[in-house]
């Protein structure tokens, strides 16, 4: 019985290939979006977590801007006074305070002019921060010892691909008219911004920008074994005494992770919402196709009833057909979704974001649920037109042209 019905369905689906495929595509897009979100959701979270962990577990980041949304104020231009931040070094348990600042500057190499982010650092602290907390090493060259020497360290991408010719250790580049020697090149960090940055000693940075005695942010390195949360509170108290920046954030690794997690889940929620809407659009598509195709086949329904098909036969025929359309759409959507997620993963890898997608972390049970769901969506959206079709009096159906 089922075999025969399936046969009839496939025949009639193939008789209207364009209509059938258009409907299936409607479902495919909805399912594909859901699958991409499902497949990348875990990867994005893992990537963000591992990126955050690179900062190290005993680091407090001090930035201007409200804690609830530190990202917007990060580029707001508010700055701390240097002495306020340096004062933090007196808090017991603090190993050092590394002041940081960034600015965009013009650089020149081999007659080629570009502009890029310049990061102001103190070499000693910088080296410790990168090597200990983030596990980033120099690929070539050496760490400069002299705080005032005209030497820079390049991010991996700056050296390899910013200019037509790759920049080598020992060569000179010109930053804002000042000739600087390339002392070292970092190994790839895995994040666009950090790989595209030039590190420069604080004294030269300040003389080039003209911004003296101010700092964008500070990394407070805590001694091993010290209570990081207690120190964070003391940092906050100390900073409340300064009068330049009103809103500031004191971020411990724990807090950063929580904020990032919140942002991620909001993004995920929005994406799931979009996916659901496209799924509904797909379902409406099936309903529309089923409705018109039932109307189109009114006469054939009459024929089938005339030769002995019961109402239930007609109903199951049409429900099976819409179910098949849903199922095929689901299968193709899942395949395409995994394909797109895989491509995004590949692109992510080449851009330095690792572990976005892996077949091992795919939620196969979730995929099965999606497949089942599309079959149900197909059946449900076929229900109304199929019911209508099955209840027709054969003579009325036969008269239909």
């Amino acid at each position: 019985m089922l075999k025969n019905f399936l046969f009839l369905n496939l025949k009639s689906i193939r008789y209207r290939p364009v209509r059938s495929w258009l409907t299936i595509i409607g479902i495919v897009i909805g399912i594909m979006l859901v699958v991409v979100i499902l497949a990348l959701g875990n990867g994005i979270q893992n990537t963000v977590k591992s990126t955050l962990q690179m900062f190290g577990s005993n680091l407090i980041v001090v930035m201007p801007g409200k804690e609830t949304n530190p990202l917007t104020s990060f580029f707001g231009g508010e700055r701390f006074r240097e002495k306020d931040l340096v004062a933090l070094e007196k808090i017991p348990g603090v190993k050092f305070v590394a002041l940081e600042d960034i600015a965009t500057m013009n650089i020149e190499f081999d007659g080629e002019k570009k502009s890029t982010l310049i990061h102001s650092v103190q070499w000693t602290w910088m080296r410790e921060l990168l090597e200990e907390s983030e596990g980033i090493k120099l690929e070539q060259g050496y760490w400069p010892q002299d705080l005032n020497a005209s030497e820079v360290i390049l991010g991996n991408k700056i050296a390899s691909s910013l200019f037509k010719n790759p920049v080598k250790v020992g060569e000179d580049i010109i930053i804002k008219g000042k000739r600087m020697k390339v002392a070292g090149i970092l190994s790839p960090i895995g994040e666009q911004m950090s790989d595209n940055i030039i590190f420069m000693p604080q004294s030269i940075f300040q003389s080039l920008t003209g911004k003296r005695s101010v700092a964008m942010s500070a990394d407070v390195k805590v001694l091993p074994g010290a209570d990081i949360n207690l120190i964070a509170k003391q940092v906050k108290f100390e900073l409340s005494k300064q009068d330049v920046v009103r809103d500031f954030s004191v971020l411990t690794p724990e807090k950063t992770e929580r904020i990032a997690g919140n942002v991620l889940s909001i993004i995920e929620l929005v994406l799931v919402f979009i996916a659901l809407i496209s799924l509904i659009v797909g379902a409406v598509g099936i309903m529309n196709t089923m409705y018109t195709s039932v109307l189109e086949r009114t006469k054939q329904i009459g024929i089938m009833k005339a030769i002995g098909a019961t109402n239930d036969d007609v109903l199951s025929l049409f429900l099976l057909e819409s179910g098949i359309i849903g199922l095929v759409g689901g299968i193709l959507g899942i395949i395409l979704g995994i394909g797109v997620a895989y491509l995004i993963g590949l692109y992510g890898n080449s851009a330095g974001i690792k572990g976005l997608f892996s077949f091992a972390s795919l939620d196969y049970f979730g995929l099965f649920v999606i497949l089942f769901l599309t079959f149900v969506i197909g059946v449900v959206s076929g229900l109304m037109p199929a019911k209508r079709a099955s209840k027709m009096e054969p003579a009325d159906a036969l008269r239909y042209e």
Partner: protein
Amino acid sequence: MEKENKKQKIDPICGMDVTDFSDSPEAIHNNKKFYFCSNFCHDRFKRNPEKFSKEPLVKISNVWKIFSPDHTKTEVLKGLNLHIWEGDFVVVIGPSGSGKSTTLNIVGLLDKPTSGHIYLKGKNISTLDDNERAKMRSKTFGFVFQQYNLIPWLTAYENATLPLIFSTKKASKKKNLEHLFDEIGLKERLDHFPSELSGGEQQRTALLRALANDPDILLGDEPTGNLDSVTGKKILDLLIDLHKVHKKTLLIVTHDMDIAELADQVITFKDGRIIRNHETHKKAYVK
């Protein structure tokens, strides 16, 4: 209503209401009096009174069909009485809109009467529910339409065997059908789709489909109406062959008087009623 019906005089052969007839022939069998529409029916009765005093294969009793799609009412059948006997070749003629096709649809359970009853072998089938009607259609009736009504996405073979999908007992019937393919001569065209078949071939496919479930009654709604005379004749020969060799009961609606002349029984419709037609009765009798 029942009592009124008993006073009615119904011709047992053709089922015609002869209450108002002044010249209707009469006969007595087993102490029961019978009235006839014509000598034709009378003679038929006399030849086999035992058979014709029982229940006919199909009995249509006081059937009305009123179409009222908007507010205008159209009375298509006005109190129809009709008997069809097993093994008969019955031809229904009459002008368009006289209710021929509607009668065929109601007999074949494709349509419901507005009022009145239909009996099959004495069983009232007008009160069946949709499912029972479908099963009855599958078991008892085979349809051949003027428009062939084949499913365009199925091949000739698939079309012809389609009724078996909806039927409960099929294995034995499939064998029977293979045999019919030979007989009807469509063997080389079985893999073709309806759009690749000629009208005659399509109608032969439809005929095979009608016979797939080995029905008791074959219903044809102008089966040769869309065919040229030569092809129509071939289909007709097949139908008559089925009637003669396989003892199928045929009920054929037609405009074609050639078919009418070959029939056991000719029923003429006019304005939703059966009218007396001695002339055709006589013709059929003379044959």
